[in-house]
Subunit: 224 residues, 2 copies
DNA sequence: GCACGTATGAAACATTTGTTTTAAACATTT
DNA sequence: AAATGTTTAAAACAAATGTTTCATACGTGC
């Protein structure tokens, strides 16, 4: 498979190799020769198929986050809002847990996903691909998350709901963005196999508590 | 000041220029000539004073996080544990808010601090400086945070306390690590001036709710 | 089978990169 | 003031980098 022939296959191998290397070492840390080597293609192939290293990078991100979008749809993370209205409170809580588990699985795996690593790098050095990441990954996750939270705490305003969604995403991203520090503190070389599930459970409970407190606080403020 | 003479001043200007550029563009994105240019020193000065680009980078991180440690002490973020025992519950909650405000101020400013940007980059490409960052910045913050949380929810175990501390730090780091996406979504070019305080207040309330819920859950589990 | 647009391979090119060299300027001591 | 060790300056170096060139192989239409 990795040695398949044909122009289509070459392009695909290039994208694959470039995606892995850009994730591993970043844009500046990856050389055109590295990519050609790992993809087992000629050095000139990159420029022939994509024009430049920068364009290859952008194409990698577009391809990768197009995959993510499809994956989110496949896992039914993006649902029609009306569907949520039919759920009871325990069902909503269960859904919130499931959603968080999906998010954690995408963030830290195992193995850690390529696109979350690429996203992390884009947050250090934003490029023209940032809008793609926001539109294909961040916004969809945020939107349904906010809908769930809104229904779990009907009293509170949209701004507070958004802050709570940020709080949840922040807790999840923590394990992706600070992995090296976490591993160093825990003297490990990789995350425990079931960390994604464990952490998802914690985040969900923690956030339900936070949401409840803010609902009360907001309710009191709104009442007086 | 930037044109001061003498070997000491040259070294200092080099460190300063290098710190800013490494934060702005990362290690691979910064060239020795960039640094020499911004520091208004000769190209060879870097190698004379530090040996190599890599060594200069490590020295920058050591210097920067040594500053951070001093700043944390100055702000009395690190307190003797016994001091906490004398505080009432409202005082502890107030302290938690203050601590979170300090953390947010260090993370997103304004302006965003150099060291938090350098830390973010180390999480993408860990180097030999990672242990320094953990020891001088992350561990001190985590430890006192855990102590406060432990006293706010005396019933729960150390592992849960640690997870809650991660949850709080994660919420705070979110605004540092995803700043480009946040700004893109909100169509802004910089964070609102008072975001640090606003967010700190939200995180504190949200987390108090989360802590409370976990305390109840854990209490019930421990009881049965 | 042959021509023609497409894709690949090997080499070369022009810059840029981190680093080194060498000499001059400076400061400090004797 | 001479000598000595330290710091700065300018130029050069070798290696690496993104990109281009050009010849060759490939596939697909007539």
């Amino acid at each position: 498979m990795s040695t398949q022939r044909g122009p289509e296959a070459t392009r695909e191998r290039l994208l694959q190799a470039a995606a892995n290397l850009f994730a591993e070492r970043g844009f500046h840390g990856t050389t055109a020769r590295d990519i050609a080597g790992r993809g087992a293609v000629n050095l000139a192939a990159g420029h022939y198929h994509f024009g430049s290293k920068k364009d290859l990078y952008l194409e990698v991100l577009r391809a990768e986050f197009s995959k993510v979008r499809r994956e989110l749809s496949r896992r039914r993370v993006i649902r029609p809002p009306a569907e949520l209205d039919r759920l009871s409170r325990p069902q909503l809580m269960k859904l919130l847990l499931t959603r968080t588990e999906v998010m954690m699985a995408m963030l830290i795996g195992p193995p850690p996903s390529l696109h979350s690593t690429l996203m992390q790098r884009e947050m250090c050095d934003p490029s023209e691909a940032l809008p793609v990441i926001v539109a294909e990954f961040i916004q969809p996750m945020m939107e349904e998350l906010e809908q769930i939270l809104q229904r779990l705490a009907p009293g509170i305003g949209a701004e507070v709901v958004e802050s709570c969604a940020f709080s949840m995403v922040g807790q999840a991203l923590f394990y992706r963005f600070t992995m090296p520090a976490w591993l160093h503190i825990k003297r490990r070389t990789s995350y425990p196999r079931d960390l994604a599930r464990t952490v998802a459970a914690h985040i969900t409970e923690f956030s339900l508590g936070g949401l409840e407190r803010l609902a009360h606080q907001h309710g009191r403020q709104g009442a007086k």
